[in-house]
Symmetry: C2
Subunit: 379 residues, 2 copies
């Protein structure tokens, strides 16, 4: 069987490695050059995009920012999973918010700003602390802006003045005083079967995921049920096929959905060494209509992203249960270079292993790790 | 880092898949055509053998039958592991027996037959039931012969008459009434560090491995110590670097070495899903002088070979903990097409899962499975 994947980064690489044992071949599409690449070596394969599209049994994506013409081409084949709707929902915060509202899934209060005049109304409705997000990424001048004090609104007004808000609206979202960020990752099959991995607890720094620990500690049954309900409701409403990730804020015993990622997800990398089936294999299984694998957790696992850094001792793999996953990319600031999965039988054991790991790492690139070690030790 | 592997079968394929996350590239050498191949796609890579040999950081082999000129070429580079001596020992039963005797490791009583006149002496010395093995494989007319009753010797004498016993002697070995066959697989590093996986219990049928279960049941501490002593003694005496497999017969509380395989081994495939580090990654680590990974067993695991058969339902992967490893080869009689690893938390649970697995498989291709299920259930 053959799977073609839009995108040529680490996610398709890990899909390839997980699919090969099933006898499934995975190829990558560079969505800019339209070249077909080997997912690991990134070597150009002698084949046109048209041929690759027709030759594949299934087409999928490693990210939601698939150019619309490619999405249309893939859609025409009838072989694209999860489906265009899900990709578009993940790629556009206006659609994402609408999807959550229609499914009646709690999320942070928000306003859509399509004209600079709507800014004051949004501020009035959402209160003192607001995060403004471009509805779609990758547009010049767009990004995220934070209003922490009322006076910030003046800078934001200036920034918005030069933007085409009609074409790319802004989602203004009330900042949530959440206790923590968690994510639930699972798969849905074409016949509506849903299977989730254990919930992960995620630590971000400057907008990037740095550390995930799964299973998340102190997840009550009620919280777990809520997370599963949210996942299943969203997956069903999107008629989703494949692996889906849902990021949530926990506020007391409530969950607010922060983001829907229609793909395998960084906070699910722990499954490679901690779960009976990894998210990459699970996505391939779901897309090809194979039976899903067991999502059972075998080990408590921490996933540590290696971001913008290559200067660490490879000897860290001497730590028992420490697994390096290296992407083979050229180093750039803030670029995800690889990740480390560390498995253990208890949170305490995990904290001990992470303490040892930290001795191999330059701490400035891993700003969330020391705190997480302390937290895990105290559990 | 780059590793070049002599051989282009499933073992180098699985090495490639295990090495990629470490940022290590693996290429395969077809020892017949001398082409350099991608280990998974088997696509020919545009590079000469000379270039590949000089470009590699390390050269190793997936089998012991490496043509001698290649072994010499690799040896000259100073980058070949485990080393030529170990490969030659694994490839030649006369050398293998000498290696065992020099290291004082128990093995089945034997005689070397270099001339037809030595046959009667061998029979006299070894008793009623003897297995005769060509010292090296792959020679026309050579193979294995069994003497089960004294009269069989006449047929054997006729067979031997046409052979060049001076060039390829025969090892006559007393047949052992063993209780079971087990194997110990581990790695040795350049600085002499040795690390073994749990012992596997192996079921053969018509000379081929069909089922392995690890950890082997009912292994006393004394037996475990003997196996580890044998492994370490042999690995040290061969100055071995990489993963080594030692097959043994258990007779009461004694172990007789049956075979030394200077490579990753079929009876170690269970480590892919049952151990913290798999044998393929461990071999790559040892060869590249990386720290070894933890050999710890995470799950009791059965490895079932799929031999000469493609007609089974792929739905077997619906069984929790059931992992397919497919080699992507054209089917041939007696050819290893893939294997299935089944993980469980107890022997009983394993027997239940294997019972379910058997419902997906054509039993005639899996003649050892039903009996093994009964045995595991009764443990």
């Amino acid at each position: 069987m053959k799977v073609l994947v839009f995108g040529a980064g680490q996610l398709v690489q890990m899909m390839y490695l997980a699919a090969a044992p099933l006898g499934v071949d995975v190829k990558a599409v560079d969505v800019n050059s339209r070249d077909i690449l080997h997912p690991v070596s990134k070597q150009k394969l002698e084949m046109t995009l048209d041929y690759a599209l027709s030759d594949a049994d299934v087409i999928t994506a490693e990210f939601e920012h698939v150019p619309e013409d490619l999405l249309a081409l893939a859609g025409e084949t009838g072989k694209f999973h999860p489906n265009a709707k899900s990709i578009l929902t993940g790629a556009d915060r206006v659609r994402e918010k609408a999807c959550l509202d229609i499914a009646n899934i709690p999320n942070a209060p928000y306003k859509i700003i399509k004209h600079i005049d709507a800014l004051d109304d949004a501020v009035q409705a959402l209160g003192q602390r607001i995060i403004f997000k471009a509805s779609r990424d990758g547009y010049d001048g767009y990004g995220q802006w934070r209003m922490m004090i009322p006076e910030d609104v003046d800078d934001i007004r200036i920034a918005f003045a030069s933007l085409d808000l009609q074409t790319v609206p802004i989602v203004a979202e009330k900042m949530i005083d959440f206790e923590r960020e968690i994510s639930i990752i699972g798969a849905r099959t074409s016949d509506g079967k849903v299977s989730c991995f254990d919930i992960a607890e995620n630590l971000h720094y400057q907008g990037q995921l740095h550390v995930s620990v799964a299973p998340a500690s102190n997840i009550s049954d009620s919280l777990k049920q809520k997370a599963h309900y949210i996942f299943e409701t969203l997956a069903n409403s999107l008629e989703y096929i494949g692996v889906l990730a849902v990021e949530m804020f926990q506020v007391g015993d409530e969950l607010l959905v922060n983001e829907i990622a229609p793909r395998v997800h960084n906070s699910g990398h722990w499954t490679q060494n901690g779960a009976e089936t990894c998210q990459f294999e699970q996505h391939i299984r779901a897309c090809l209509n194979f039976p899903l694998g067991s999502p059972q957790t075998n080990k408590i696992t921490a996933m540590i992203n290696i971001i913008g850094c290559t200067s660490f001792s490879r000897d860290l793999i001497s730590i028992p249960g420490c697994h390096l996953h290296w992407y083979g990319k050229e180093v750039r600031e803030k670029r995800k270079m690889g990740h480390i999965n560390v498995t253990a039988n208890s949170y305490f054991e995990l904290s001990e292993k992470l303490s040892k790991l930290l001795t191999f790492l330059p701490e400035e690139y891993f700003p969330k790790l020391a705190g997480e070690i302390r937290r895990l030790k105290a559990l």
